[in-house]
Each structure stands twice: as C-alpha cells, then as structure tokens.
Symmetry: D2
Subunit: 310 residues, 4 copies
C-alpha cells in the first residue's frame, strides 16, 4: 500500500449509550475520501482505541473495509497492554480485510530497546501486511530513536513507513539521513505538517481532518509542491485548530469540533469526559474565529454522502 497523502486518524463515533455508531462512521469515512484523503487509520489514539474491546475493534474494521471496498487503504492501529494481545489483534485485523497496520509500543510499560524491539517485531511478524511504526514518546513513553527505526527497517521487509509524533521535528531529517527513502515518513502531529514536509515527510496522519478534510488536503498539497506563501496563509488560519491535536484532550476537542461543524458527535467514553466551562469557551472562541475567516476551498458536502450511502 501507499503510505502518502493525508490519512485521517479517524475518530470513533458513539450512540448516546456509547455503543459504536457504525452508520455514521461509514458516511464519515466516505466524506473524507471524497475530499481527497488517501487512506484511513482506524483505532488510534484519536479513535479511542484504548476504550474499545477487541470485538468492537474488529466490528469497526469490518464495517469500514466493507463500506470503502478498496477505494483507499484501511489501516488498523495495533496497541495493547501485552504482546500476546497485540499479536492477536494484528491477525484479526488482517482477517477483517485491513490493508496495513500502524504498530504501537505497548501501553503502560515502556521497557528497554530489547523489550520494545521484541514487542514490535512480534506484531510485524504476525501478518504479511504493510506496516507503519508509530513513534509517540509523549503519549506512550517509548521513544523509537532514528537508529532503532533503521534497525527495524533492516530486519523487517513489511515495515514500510514511520509516523513521527515526537514533538522534535529534527527526527524527520535524522531518519532520512540514515535510511534515505527506505521508509515513508509521515507526520503525526497536526501543527507541524508544513515543517515536516520541508524535511522530507511524504504523508500526514492527521486529526483535524476529521472535521476539515478539504482544508487539510489543500494545506498538504501546497506544502508538498513548495508553494510557501500561499501555504503559509492557509497554515496561519488553520494553526489554532491544528493545535487542538497536540494537547491531552485532543479527542474531546476534535470530536467537539466535528459536532459543531455538523459531522458527528462530541461523545467520548470515560475516563475521558466532554469539555466543560472554560475549556469549552476557549474552544468555542477558537472555532468561531476560524469559521469567520474560513478560506474558500472547494469541498465535497457531508450531506451528499448521506445520499451516496443510502
């Protein structure tokens, strides 16, 4: 599969009773693809993978792979408290028709390189699927250093990409310096995409795209084609929203933005709770300001996708 372009880290939609709203998710996926996204990453941090059980995860994957049927790759995030659990989930994701895997370090325990390498290797070897390593030391404490990523790339043919979400943008050039184009490098933090592309990134695992797919795709392409000035104006407009992706409550914020712009619900599963009081007022102000100055970018309507899937 191709690890390029704008791939949403898709949110998971819930009914009022917090069961999964598969119908909405189909429409949401379709809408983002119609607006130029190049694939879908399911069950990630933003997808609230941590509060979904395995049966729910597989149901989500089956629903999306069926509804997309081949229009774009579907990627499953593989995260678990144990190596055994991660391997089992990887195999089930393959059975569910996924095209690729996003491989996370274990939840909670962050061990030394020998342990983390063994965990990742077990997932990589569990299926023949194309894999992307996910490096997010802030969220998961395990930091896959450029040298370690190079070591994994040398040992695992089906490792094809790396998602860099350390806040240290120097990592993109560091990985590329070591292994050239052996791995596709994707940026995993919304508010560093332009800088990441300048350093050699070819894709974006994005968050606000769940609410603003056309703007996200437009920004990405301006940056990829070196149109700096035009790109900077769009980036400047988008940044206050994109920064919602890099704070602890990014799930609550992005789902709330989706709800406000009419594409989804703000519902989250506990321990996360929906925004309240000051933080809600702040988010409101940021969003209102963005909507008032929203650039005109041709976009496919969400409503039309309802009909398309009816």
């Amino acid at each position: 599969m191709q690890w390029t372009g704008v791939m949403p880290a898709m949110t998971t939609a819930f009914h009022p009773d917090l069961s999964i709203d598969h119908d909405f998710m189909k429409q949401h996926a379709d809408w983002m693809l119609r607006n130029g996204c190049s694939g879908l990453v399911m069950l990630g941090s933003l997808g609230e993978g941590a509060t979904l059980n395995d049966a729910e995860k597989i149901a989500i994957l089956r629903n999306i792979t069926r509804s997309i049927h081949g229009r774009a790759p579907v990627v499953a995030a593989i995260s678990s408290l144990s190596t055994a659990g991660a391997v089992r989930l990887a195999k089930e994701a393959e059975q569910a028709g996924c095209n690729g895997l996003m491989v996370l370090p274990p939840y909670v325990y962050s061990g030394d390189w020998r342990e983390m390498r063994a965990h990742v290797a077990a997932i990589l070897q569990a299926t023949p699927l194309s894999c992307m390593l996910y490096n997010n030391p802030i969220a998961y404490r395990t930091d896959f250093l450029p040298e370690q990523i190079a070591e994994l790339a040398a040992s695992h043919e089906n490792l094809h990409a790396v998602k860099e979400s350390s806040a240290d943008l120097r990592r993109v050039a560091a990985i590329r310096s070591l292994i050239g184009d052996r791995l596709s490098i994707l940026v995993g933090v919304d508010d560093a995409i332009v800088e990441g592309i300048a350093a050699g990134a070819v894709g974006w695992i994005a968050g606000l795209v769940n609410a603003f797919p056309a703007e996200s795709v437009a920004l990405f392409h301006l940056a990829r084609t070196g149109k700096q000035n035009e790109g900077f104006e769009l980036y400047r407009w988008f940044l206050p929203l994109l920064r919602m992706d890099t704070v602890p409550k990014f799930v609550q914020l992005i789902k709330w933005v989706q709800q406000e712009v009419g594409v989804g619900s703000a519902r989250v599963r506990p321990p996360r709770l929906e925004l309240e009081s000051d933080e809600l007022a702040d988010a409101h102000q940021t969003l209102q300001k963005a909507l008032a100055t929203r650039p005109r970018i041709a976009a496919s309507d969400f409503a039309s996708s309802v009909g398309a899937n009816a």
Copy 2:
C-alpha cells in the same frame, strides 16, 4: 478491614507456558502470612495486572481468597483502560470474595481532576468494599494531590486508605496535616518505608517482601516502635534490595530474586522480558552481597508451607 502492617503487592506466578501457576501462588501467599504479613494485594503493577485478562484476574482472586479463607484480608487492584472496565472488574472482585480494593487511576489516559475524580468515584461506588486509593504519578502520570485525596475522603465513606507512591515523601505529612487519621496512609515504595513511618504512615504495600517477608516485617516493626538504631542497621542492609522496587524493571528484578532464594520463578509476560547480561550481573552482585551479610531473623520456612497446603 485493617489497612495496617506489611501487605505484599503479590507477584503473579507463571508456568513455563506463561499460564498462571495457582498452586504456587497459594503456597507463596501462605508463606508470607506465616511470616507476619497482614494482608495481600493482588493484581497490582508488581502482580503484572496489565497483562492479565479479566478471567485470569478473577481466577487468581478466587484461588487466593479460598486458600487464605479469612486469615487475612485479600485486596484486588482495580486498573483498566476504561472506567466501564474498572467498574466491572470491581464488582467481579467483590463476587470473588475480596475484602478490599486498591483503586488506580486509568491506564494510559491521564486527564484533569474532574475526569480522574469521576473515574475513581465510579470504582468507589461500584461496591461497598473498603477501598485504598493508589497514588503513583510516576507510573500512571495522574497525581492525586493531598487536597484531592481529602476531597475524595469527604465524599466516599468506603475510602479508608491511601497508598502513597509518589517519590515525594512530604506527601505523607501533607495528607495527615489535612485530614488527620481519616485515612490510613500506606507507603508504596520499598526504599522509603522508614521515612514514611516517621511521617505517620501505618502500613506498607511492599515488593521485596515477596522474597524476604521476615526481614520486611522486622524492619517495619522496628520503625513503628521507634527503634531507630537497630532499625537503621537492618535498613542499611536491605536498601540495595529494596531499591529494586523503584526502577522500571522492578517486576523482573523481584521475580528473579524470588527465584534465586527459592520461592518462585523469574518468568514474566511480554512486553517485559527476563533480565539479561549486565543488568543480570548487577542484580546478582547486589543479591550475593545481601545474602552474605543477611541478618539472623526468625522466619518461617517456605518448604513447610508446601506441607501445610498439601
């Protein structure tokens, strides 16, 4: 239940295929109680709760509550990625005959006080069991501040104790300053027990006790009765071992020590891997030095417990 004395954070024993060795666990629990421990805490961090599924957890609780039948309280650690999962586990632990619960913040997500309070409250309200809050900001990122602990104590009658595992020993006096004896304060880091007792702690959720119960109980009682000089000599001897409890590989280290002194196996579930090379040599040196200078303390033999349970 009484939240005092030395309560092991009990390790979980595995067969070579990494299934649970319930027979050994019975003997191990019995042996620690015969050596003066005042209760047992199951499924905690040291008990590898993160890699046990719920069915395994309940099987462990049933096995121990049955085998102990009332000689001492059995406490279940309640930890989960989701609030719903934590509540379900709490209810099942009650059904399994536990006497108390150790309440953890959620795995992975560390939210604000409103969210963390809601998570903890849901567990506290799930059963009428006596509860101990577990504060370990290093491991779980959520830091329950003294003022927040006081707020929980005021709202939840069945919150009876707090286990302090922040490395900041000033927290013991801070909690006691706020709420006097409303909560029993227990120390959760092995290498700060003497200082914790001086500040008002009345119990110890201990780690090395899994291998050295008689020494742990003796140290605790010397500290509780103000025998500082005698206590210091024992502490000085014990500290290099006790420090094994406060490093990321504490599970591997303590289980390895158990194996070396003949009470258990070093086996752990991945992503944890057993010790190797330099770290193993260091542990070996520390243990050999301790064994060569081990103080004479009357202890009940592990072997005799085999007969007792046969």
Copy 3:
C-alpha cells in the same frame, strides 16, 4: 566547626535604594542566635548571592563575623559562574573571618561528574576551612549522587557536611548507608525536616527561621528527641509556611513574611520582584491563618536585640 542544629540561610537586607542594610543584618543575626540557632549561613540562594558582587559579599561577611565575634560559626556560600571566581571568593571569605564554607556547583553550567568534581575540589582545596557540600539539583541542575558525595568525602578531609536539598528524602539514608557518620547530613528544604531527621539528619539549613526562629528551633528539637506527637502538631501548624521555602519565589515570600512579622523588609533585587496581586493575597491568607493559631513558644524579642546592639 559543628554542623548541627538550626542554621539560618540568612536573607540579605536592603535599604530602599537596594544597597545593603548592614545594621539590620547585625540585629537580625543576633536575634536568631538568641532564639537558639546554632550558626549562620550567609550569601546562599535565600541570601540573594546571585545579585551581590564580590565586594558586597565580603562586606556582609565582615559585618557579621565581627558582630557575632565567635558566638556561633559563620558560613559563607561559595557560588560563581566560573571555577576561578569561586576559588577567589573562598579565599576572601576565609580572610573575612568565616568559620566554614558552603560549596555550591557552578551557576548555569552543569557538566559531567569529572567537571563538577574538579570545580568542587578546587573550592575545597582553596582554604583549610570546614566545608559543607550543597546538593540542590532543582535549583542548580547538578545532582551530587550519594556515591559521588562518598568519593568527595574520601578525598577531602575538610569536607565535613552535606546539605541535601534534592526533594528526594531517600538521599539522607542513602548517604548514611554509604559513609555512616563521616559527614554530617543537614536538610536544606524546610518542609521535610522531620522526615530528614528520622532518616539521620543532624542539622537544618532553614529558611522560615528568618521570621520564626523560636518555632524552628522548637520543631527541630522535638524531632531530634523523638517526640513525635508533640512534634507533629507543631509541624502541621508550620508546614504551610515552611512550604514557602520550596517554590521559585521563596526569597520574595520569606522576606515578605519577615516584613509582616516586623523583622525586616520585603525588598529584593531584580530580576526578582516583590509579590503582587493573587500571589500576595495567597501569602497573606497563609500567614494570617498561621498567626491566628500560633503556638506559644518562649522566644526572645526582636526589639530587645536592637538595644543590645545599640
């Protein structure tokens, strides 16, 4: 000299034009000694050593050594941006009649052990004065580990004490485990003195003592003589004030408390600025509550010292 008891980290008093108020400092020093303090530490962090030039430092030392003339040891903090500057200051402090030195790591640069050892060694060798190493990794980034402190003690006969201001109280027992009573251990954070004494500390380099010397000395002696319950009530009363010693604005807070209780001025040199608005209101509330419930402890009046020195 004896490194025991309660030794104030003395504040530096300023006239309205921020020049040094030597007259007040004499009275202040005398008052603290009359209330049971066992020595005086000049020019430390709390003494605003960083904004005093060398001439001012020597003037302060001369003034205090003369006015105290031998009633108690006077210690000079030796801190500098360069090793050469620290050595020069140490020699001048000796000339000024000091009895001991408090040796700090360099300002700004925190190097490896080889570099920090060389810096400290140069100061220790600069004079034959009795020295206390000051470990405060939070303020100065350099963390002198127990093993390194043991190495310095083995190499330098005139190193007689260590002031532990890492927030990690386990360090006291760790140092004592390694070197027994080779060094006197003094606690350098106000709000951990009782725990520190329990672990073996014999002295206190204190902050709030500048405003509450009788209470500080009473607390210290209760803790040293194992009177835990009586001591705890006093500690509970004192803790909200003592915590003012362990926040970034400790200088502003302690000098403001001095001013409020009638023994000094809140004036500080920039870049520090005096407290304002919310932080001032908070400090006011804490102090009022403490004054309203102040325990009755026999104390020598500040006013009487004015006469004594007149």
Copy 4:
C-alpha cells in the same frame, strides 16, 4: 541593522593561561566574514560569556568592532545574574561600538512573565541599539512564548529580531502567525536550520560555522532558495557535526573541532573541561567521517586572513 544570513555565535579564543587571545579572534572573525557570514554575535553561550568578567567582555567587543570596522554588524550578548548588571553591560557594549544586542533572560533565576518582562525591558531601554531576543528555555529555563514575544515587539521599537532556540520548531510558525514580519526570526540551533527556514526563518545564529563557515553559508542559501534536494545532501553530510551544537558540551566540542581543522584552540575555561576519553573518541570519529566525505565548496582560506591582518 540587518538580522539575516549566517551570523556566527563566535567562540572566545584563549591563550594557554586562559587569558583572551585577541589576535586570533581578529583573524577568526575576518575569515568567517570572508566566507559569507553576515555578522558576528559575541559573548554568547558558545562565546563562554558566563566565565568572562565585564572588563574582558568589553575588551573583546572593542577588539572586534575595531578590526571589522563596519564590514558587518557586531552583536553583543547581554546576560547577567542581575538586571542591574545586564543594563550596565548593555551600555558598555554600545560604547564599545556594537551594532546590536542579543538580549538574554537572567542567569539562574527564572521568574514569572512579569519579572522576565521587566528584566528584558530594562535591557531594551538601556540603549537605542537594535535588539534580538534570545529564547533558549533549555539552557536558561525561561521560555518566552510566542504571545509574550508579540507583547514585547508591540512595546519596544528597537526589538527587531528573535532567536529561537527552543527545540520546538513549531515556534517559528507560531511567532510568524502572530506578528507576520514585525520581527526577523533566526534559528539558534544548528541542526534545525533547514526546517526553520521552511517555516519562515531568515537568519541563523550558528555554531559549527566557527569551523565550517563556507559549508554553513552554502547550506543556508540552498535552504533559503528552495533547492531542497541539493540542500538535503549537504544537510545529511553536515548533521552529525551540527548536532554537536545541541548537547551540553557544545562549547568543548565546537572549539575542539576548530582546533582539529586548524582554526583555533580547544581550550575552555573551567568549570568546563576539555573533552577526554570516550567522548573525545566519539567526536574524533564523527569529524573524521565528515572530513573524508567533505563536499567541495569554494572557501576562503584561513591562512590568507593571517596575511590580511598582519
């Protein structure tokens, strides 16, 4: 003055007795300007400002301003333990003929925004010279946030530039988003220059330029003119050296590299000590590899500058 291009954070050369080698510094400055540098920043972190006294600082400034006489701007770093000291130094730097000031937060004390703003404002108001604010929260703990930088820009007409040395490259776009081109943004960490330019930086306060000026200038211009592929090959070659600028021993490393390539001495003032053993071997390996694959870039010889100044 123009705050653009490659401006060396110039090292300070020492004789064997660690007094300042003014003759060498003249040649060194001349050589870097002949190789395309656009100005000189004196007395910074890399210039060991912390171990120079004020008289030495002024002597250095006089020497360089005289020897350069107007060929390029000379900038003085203003750093001090006290606000009063910083203001005095700023005025003396103006007297010494400097064209601009680089304004640092105070050494050691990092206060709140009110305090840090007052410190910076005092320096900005001390002279009419063009000023660049230096943000380096890793070295100095004070983090000037984009909003605070915007506030300073609005209040101080002679604030013309900001040097961003937080490792967080998102700051460049954040500042530019807030204030457009009101301030020139310069990158202050060597190994992020290409990414910084992509985000809108127009200058580089550089470190390895002290040894490799032609390569630094070439890299900068490739990045500024959007020649990504050519630029990446040079960046890849240069990065292992550039990373020497962003570790605690950057002064020792860069001066050692200067010595190895024949333009200076590795001598540093304590508490810094010259490299030894493993760290020296590592540096040697990195440098040898770089020299063996050094790209051909037209450069002006160091030797020729000796003649020029003779």
